[in-house]
């Protein structure tokens, strides 16, 4: 029986790694992967907590998370593909169309 703290530690580690990927990498696909890792960390914590309190909710939550991330990923991948097709962008720094254009000429 693995103690709860161990599982939570692994979950937190996964989450932090994912967050680090999101913050440090610039490629769109890496960002998505980082997000997935963060989700996995959260799902792992949920399963571990469910196991600890002898309930099914943790596993249910994990299944829901999978379904939702799958759906989200579908949309996100289409957006990434469109970004490449329209703007030839694979890197997040190329997508700066929402920058406040008036920042230069404002007094």
């Amino acid at each position: 029986m693995i103690p709860l703290t161990h599982s939570l530690f692994v979950g937190a580690l996964l989450f932090t790694l994912g967050a680090a990927v999101v913050l440090l990498r610039r490629e769109l696909l890496f960002l998505l992967m980082g997000l997935e890792i963060m989700f996995n960390g959260a799902a792992l914590s949920a399963v571990a907590a469910g196991q600890h309190w002898q309930g099914a909710e943790g596993q249910v939550l994990a299944i829901f998370l999978m379904a939702i991330t799958t759906a989200e990923l579908v949309v996100a991948l289409i957006l990434v593909w469109l970004a490449y097709q329209r703007f030839q962008a694979i890197c997040v720094d190329d997508l700066v169309a929402l920058r406040d254009g008036r920042s230069e000429d404002s007094p």
Partner: protein, 648 residues
């Protein structure tokens, strides 16, 4: 039959609406016939009502509840009892004939659409007035006919004299209308209802308000029916087209007052003093109208004063309790006066708008038919014994007047009026039609059919309607008064011998009047005028008196108010106020607007611009930066809640 009752006022009403709204789409030549059809449907419905049993049992129809306030629910409802049946028959029948006459008479007029709109609307209003089953609806019809009368008197409104005549009629009748409105309010306050069915059985108790209400209703009737002292508008009302004078100012609208008093007669019986006043005003008006008619030169004004005088007979009958006889005279008068007006109109028309009887005589404009019709009308008006309708109706009123309180005096006045009637109308007849000199104008050929048919029909009626009611004690049938007995009490007549003597005397009066007309006309041809000519011609100088009593003080008060109150007080006050505001505004502009407000606003704008510049730097579109910000923020908040000693 009851379900079709609405069609009687409804058909001319729909006709009026159609002419007003869609009249431009109808071909102009069809418009008169369309209006005639609307009037004709109404007359046909009345005929159907006669056949459908309205003569036996009252017909009723309630279209809808007009207002519903708690227990008070005046309806748009019609009752066709015998009294109303007489009125609708006269109104729709004469109205239809006059519509037909108008087709030829108004042929050359430019604004026929307006004319027929008001004619149809008038007919609808008048029929609503007589069919109404409550006082409120009656008042609605009352005002509607007043409006149409105003609009039709001033039909040729580009002539300022004619427009002024319309205004005068409207203003003078308004006095009566206001009194009637107050009477309706008082009745409502007392009884809480305005329905005739409920009101008049209730009115039989002892009620001291009856005198006031009866008096107010009387004033209303005086205004509409042009009786002393509110008669001044009717002679001027002749400014309208002749068919209008015939329909509104002779046959129908001016008799609305008679109908109103007949309808509310239980109230007058509670106030015998007021009822006697009705008779007294009636006889005074008879003599007044007849004497004024003697001195007029305008053929239509003669007829107008004659109308005033004849309605006086109806009031006399009402005042003596002889309601059925008042209605009888109303019906015969409608026939012969409409006939006189229409033949006078034809005469004026063919003489190119000439109204003066002397010149009409010189022009010799009348054809044989017109002369015959005018003669029949004049004979009926003068009550030539045995042949004419006027004799049967007027004679009965005279005998009924004898039994009223102070009946001898009433009879004397009325008989004097009868004498004068013969004089004035045959003066006109002889002056216009019996001119020995060579005529200047050859009579034209045949009259147009729409003119000839109504004339001949009305002439036939003027001779025959009288046979419905033979004089008291003559053994002939009394169809009229026995038929109306269930609703209007029978008139009282003096005992047999007195009646005979009175009848003989009044017949003699009529004949003597006609005989007197011959020397009068001869005198006038010789260039001599009547004594008091100008006094009589100006209608006993009532106009001048009213001008001095009411019109001039009113104008003077108005101009004084304009000068002192409006210019001196209100305008000066407003000017001062405006100037004060100007000064205040200038001061505020300098002090507040340029000072604090503008400075504050500038400060705000500059502050906002700086803030915006600072915030704008963070909006750089770089997703990773945003992610860093979100993460940092989240961590900071988490740290704050979890580890800060006084957080969370």
């Amino acid at each position: 039959m009851s379900t079709w009752l609405w069609l009687i006022p409804g058909s001319p009403f729909v006709g009026a609406l159609t002419i007003a709204l869609l009249g431009g789409r109808l071909p102009a030549a069809r418009l008169p016939w369309f209006a005639c059809a609307a009037a004709g449907i109404s007359a046909l419905t009345v005929a159907a009502a006669w056949l459908g049993g309205a003569a036996q049992e009252p017909l009723r129809q309630t279209l809808y509840i007009w207002l519903a306030v708690d227990g008070w629910q005046p309806s748009v409802g019609f009752t066709l009892d015998r009294l109303a049946l007489v009125m609708v028959t006269v109104v729709s029948g004469v109205g239809f004939l006059i519509h037909v006459y108008s087709v030829a008479f108004m042929d050359k007029e430019a604004e026929q659409r307006r004319y027929y709109f008001y004619m149809n609307l008038f007919l609808a209003g008048m029929l609503v007035l007589v069919l109404a089953d409550n006082l409120l609806l009656l008042y609605f019809g009352w005002e509607m006919v007043g409006l149409c009368s105003f609009a039709l008197i001033g039909f040729w409104y580009r002539d300022p004299v004619k427009a002024a005549a319309g205004r005068k009629a409207f203003t003078v009748t308004r006095i009566g209308d206001t009194a009637l409105a107050i009477a309706i309010f008082l009745l409502f306050v007392q009884f809480g209802t305005l329905s005739f069915d409920v009101l008049f059985p209730l009115g039989e108790g002892d009620w001291e308000g009856a005198t006031a209400v009866a008096l107010l209703i009387l004033v209303g009737a005086l205004g509409k029916s042009a009786q002393l002292p509110l008669q001044v508008w009717l002679p001027d009302a002749m400014a309208g087209p002749s068919p209008v004078s015939a329909l509104i100012h002779a046959a129908t609208m001016v008799t609305a007052g008679v109908y109103l008093i007949a309808r509310t007669h239980p109230l007058f019986e509670l106030a015998p003093g007021v009822q006697w006043t009705v008779a007294a005003i009636g006889v005074l008006t008879i003599v007044y109208g007849a004497s004024c008619a003697l001195a007029q030169h305008d053929i239509k004004r003669v007829l107008a004063y004659s109308t005033v005088s004849q309605i006086g007979y109806m009031f006399l009958a009402l005042g003596c309790g002889a309601y059925a006889l008042a209605l009888f005279h109303l019906a015969t008068h409608a026939c012969f006066k409409a006939l006189l007006f229409l033949s006078a109109g034809t005469l004026i028309h063919s003489a190119g708008g000439e109204h003066h009887i002397g010149r009409l005589g010189e022009l010799n404009a009348g054809s044989r038919t017109v002369q015959l019709c005018f003669l029949v009308g004049a004979a009926s008006l003068a009550a030539v014994p045995f042949f004419t309708a006027g004799f049967y109706s007027k004679d009965a009123i005279l005998t009924a007047a004898w039994v009223a309180p102070v009946g001898g005096l009433l009879w004397l006045f009325a008989a004097l009026g009868a004498l004068l009637t013969g004089v004035y109308i045959f003066r006109v007849y002889l002056t216009v039609f019996h001119r020995s000199a060579e005529p200047l104008l050859r009579p034209r050929g045949r009259l147009p059919t729409p003119i000839a048919v109504p004339l001949l029909l009305l002439a036939a009626l003027s001779l025959s309607v009288g046979f419905l009611e033979f004089p008291e004690g003559s053994g002939g049938p009394h169809t009229w008064s026995t038929w109306l007995e269930s609703e209007l009490d029978l008139a009282k007549h003096p005992e047999h011998h007195t009646t005979r003597v009175l009848q003989a005397l009044s017949a003699l009066m009529a004949v003597a009047g006609i005989a007197l007309a011959f020397p009068l006309v001869r005198r006038e041809r010789a260039g001599k005028s009547l004594p008091w000519q100008s006094f009589l011609q100006t209608g006993w100088r009532f106009d001048a008196l009213y001008a001095r009593l009411f019109v001039q003080p009113y104008h003077r008060t108005a101009s004084a108010l304009a000068r002192w109150v409006e210019q001196g007080l209100i305008e000066a006050g407003l000017n001062g106020l405006t100037r004060g505001f100007w000064v205040m505004a200038a001061g505020l502009r300098r002090g507040v607007e340029f000072g604090s407000v503008e400075r504050g606003l500038t400060f705000l704008v500059v502050g906002l611009q700086r803030g915006h510049a600072m915030l704008s730097a963070t909006q750089n579109g770089l997703l990773s930066r945003y992610a860093v910000s979100v993460t940092t923020g989240t961590l900071a908040l988490l740290g704050f809640w979890l580890f800060w000693p006084w957080g969370g």
